[in-house]
């Protein structure tokens, strides 16, 4: 039985298999040729567009002329949280204690303790002190404690030079602009939140109303009009510094030049563009 079967099978399929393999070879060669031709054409297109891409149509603004950066002088921050409220008002961030594009952390080292006690404006005790989830303030819980050292650290999106969030976005909804800002195109965001996971700084929040991810834009709609980001505009103690790195006399260029600045989590390789002064080893 088995002998016969093998014989019959061999006779019946020998020729077609050879034919099939031949066709397959030709097909593969053709596909390879098409792909390589296609990629050549694509390369030509990229080269063409690289020579003359008109900048985005923003009135009186050319993104090739700017390189934005942000500075934070934590030695000046008083934890008044005007920036957090201003950001929410300016950008229509959800008025609750769970969605923030910028936030402020408080680090308190008590006498005899190695680790800092850290809280932010969304801490339940602080929400109770403000009496509302729409207003923010730090409660005075360490008033009578033996505090060795304490300070506030404002945080926001670092607008990294090599942003991990852009790397993982499957739809091209988030991207880095020529002037150094990481933005989100809400019409292309599918709400998968890969970027929220990828960001090492926890800077991204999810907009549950629109079903898309949101984040700090350095108030792109303001800086392209010659204004400061809202949080910088309202900071009463000038702890937040913003400006153009292309201008050597801009506040941020002076800030970086005149101070020993640090960035958060440099080991991740994201190369952040928010520069800090006055932060401690436990701030990351």
């Amino acid at each position: 039985m088995s002998n016969q079967d093998t014989k019959v099978g061999k006779e019946a399929s020998d020729l077609p298999r050879r034919n099939f393999l031949r066709i397959l070879g030709i097909g593969a060669a053709c596909t390879g040729a098409m792909v390589s031709a296609g990629s050549l054409i694509a390369k030509e297109q990229v080269n063409e567009s690289a020579t003359a891409p008109p900048p985005p149509k923003i009135p009186n603004y050319d993104w090739n002329k700017h390189k934005w950066a942000f500075g934070i002088d934590a030695t000046r921050c008083i934890g008044c949280l005007r920036c957090v409220e201003a950001c929410k008002a300016e950008n229509g961030v959800a008025q609750d204690a769970h969605h923030f594009r910028t936030w402020v952390e408080r680090y308190v080292y008590l006498e005899g303790e190695d680790k800092p006690r850290i809280d932010s404006q969304s801490d339940p005790q602080n929400i109770a002190a403000s009496g509302s989830e729409k207003e923010f303030r730090f409660d005075n819980r360490y008033k009578d404690a033996k505090v060795e050292k304490a300070f506030f650290v404002p945080k926001l999106c670092n607008h990294c030079t090599h942003p991990a969030c852009v790397q993982v976005c499957p739809t091209g909804a988030t991207y880095k602009t020529k002037d150094g800002v990481v933005l989100i195109d809400h019409s292309y965001c599918i709400g998968c939140e890969y970027c929220v996971q990828a960001c090492p700084y926890g800077a991204r929040e999810f907009n549950h109303v629109l079903g898309v991810t949101d984040k700090c834009t350095w108030c792109y709609h303001r800086i392209t009009k010659g204004l400061l980001p809202a949080c910088v505009e309202v900071c009463p103690v000038e702890a937040r510094i913003f400006g153009d790195r292309n201008d050597p006399q801009s506040p941020i260029s002076l800030f970086i030049r005149n101070n020993r600045v640090a960035v958060l989590k440099p080991e991740t390789g994201n190369a952040p563009n928010v520069y800090y002064v006055g932060i401690d080893k436990d701030v990351s």
Binding site: P56, Y142, G172, L183
Partner: protein, 351 residues
């Protein structure tokens, strides 16, 4: 080639063409313009309308408030102190072209006070600043840098609102310019003072330690006290009657006379003085580190009679005398504190 394979290849080709066409059709024209994203979205994001408009926008109408603010310590750009309009008042948005004005600051305030029409809440054009707005930056708190002006609220103001003493636009109190009362004529005041001498002494040094010395006291404080007795906001069996007969000029003159008289330090119980000195730190902000007040409408305490000082504090505690700051401050003091403070100030040299 077998037919079924040809059919399969054709099908694959058709699907590939359809997929390429669909991608061309559905991908935005600007998608690969600058990279793997929709190029037009950059301009779309940039076209949002700012809500914070900056000081210059506010200045265009509120010139008076702007002038007050611009010469105050709240306007010291470059020094780490630059409290612009929208820091306290919130974003101006499209105010005043859209109503209700989107000043969330006022909305918030009105909500707190249970007032829906907050424009009626500002009848004289003044925008009240609730205490919370000031303490958000100025409450003493670990973590705030030392250069930031900070106060212990209970000791500094009690339950009084900040605006009782401070104008938020220009919070530094310029005592000499703002509160200097009209000057009286000391020589004309001497005649009026004859009636006071029976109790307070002809030279302003009281004959009874329960009554205050007037010599060397601020004229502004003396005038205000007489006015308070006359108007009835402060009452005393003797003084209410005495003040009722005095004209405004009389009050200023007699105040000027006593303010220029030589003061006398009454002295206090040595044991209590040392304890009182420690407690006096919380009084020093208004009444001066050595009992000489920097504000002409707040009294000097140095050298004053201990009995009078302690009875005054007790009258604030029991409510028979009222003052926005002193009422709440006095309530934080124990009976021992009162006695010690009185002894301390009585012993401080008044000169």
């Amino acid at each position: 080639m077998p037919k079924h394979l040809v059919r399969l290849l054709i099908l694959v080709a058709v699907l590939a063409v359809a997929a390429i066409a669909a991608k061309k059709f559905f991908t935005d024209k600007s998608y690969y313009m600058y990279g793997n994203y929709r190029g037009n979205s950059v301009a779309e994001i940039a076209s949002d309308v700012p809500r914070f408009r900056g000081n210059e926008y506010c200045k265009s109408c509120h010139t008076k408030q702007y002038a007050e603010w611009s010469s105050s310590p709240h306007n010291s750009p470059g020094t780490g102190k630059h409290v612009k309009c929208e820091v306290c008042h919130g974003p101006v948005g499209q105010h005043p072209s859209t109503l209700p004005a989107p000043l969330n600051f006022d909305e918030r305030l009105a909500l707190k006070e249970g007032i829906t029409n907050y424009q009626a809440f500002m009848p004289n054009g003044k925008l009240p600043v609730p205490k919370e707005e000031c303490v958000q930056c100025h409450e003493a708190m670990p973590g705030r840098p030392l250069v930031q002006r900070q106060v212990m609220i209970a000791a500094h103001a009690g339950t009084e609102k900040c605006i009782a003493c401070h104008n938020p636009h220009s919070p530094k109190i310029n005592f000499a310019a703002v509160l200097q009362p009209p000057r009286g004529d000391a020589s004309a005041g001497k005649a009026v003072a004859a009636a006071c001498g029976a109790c307070h002494g002809a030279a302003g040094v009281s004959v009874n330690p329960a009554w205050p010395n007037l010599a060397g006291q601020h004229a502004g404080y003396l005038t205000n006290s007489l006015e308070a007795f006359k108007s009835g906001t402060r009452t005393n069996a003797m003084m209410s009657g005495m003040a009722a007969g005095l004209s405004d000029t009389d009050m200023q003159n007699v105040a000027a006379y006593f303010s220029q008289a030589a003061c006398k330090t009454s002295g206090g119980d040595k044991a209590k003085v040392d304890l009182g000195k420690i407690k006096a730190a919380s009084c020093a902000l208004c009444h001066g580190a050595f009992g000489i007040s920097g504000n002409p409408v707040w009294p000097n305490l140095a050298g004053q009679n201990a009995d009078y000082l302690s009875s005054t504090l007790k009258s604030f505690q029991n409510g028979s005398r009222k003052h926005p700051v002193m009422t709440s401050v006095a309530k934080t003091l124990s009976a021992g504190d009162v006695a010690n403070l009185a002894a301390y100030y009585a012993s401080v040299n008044c000169k």
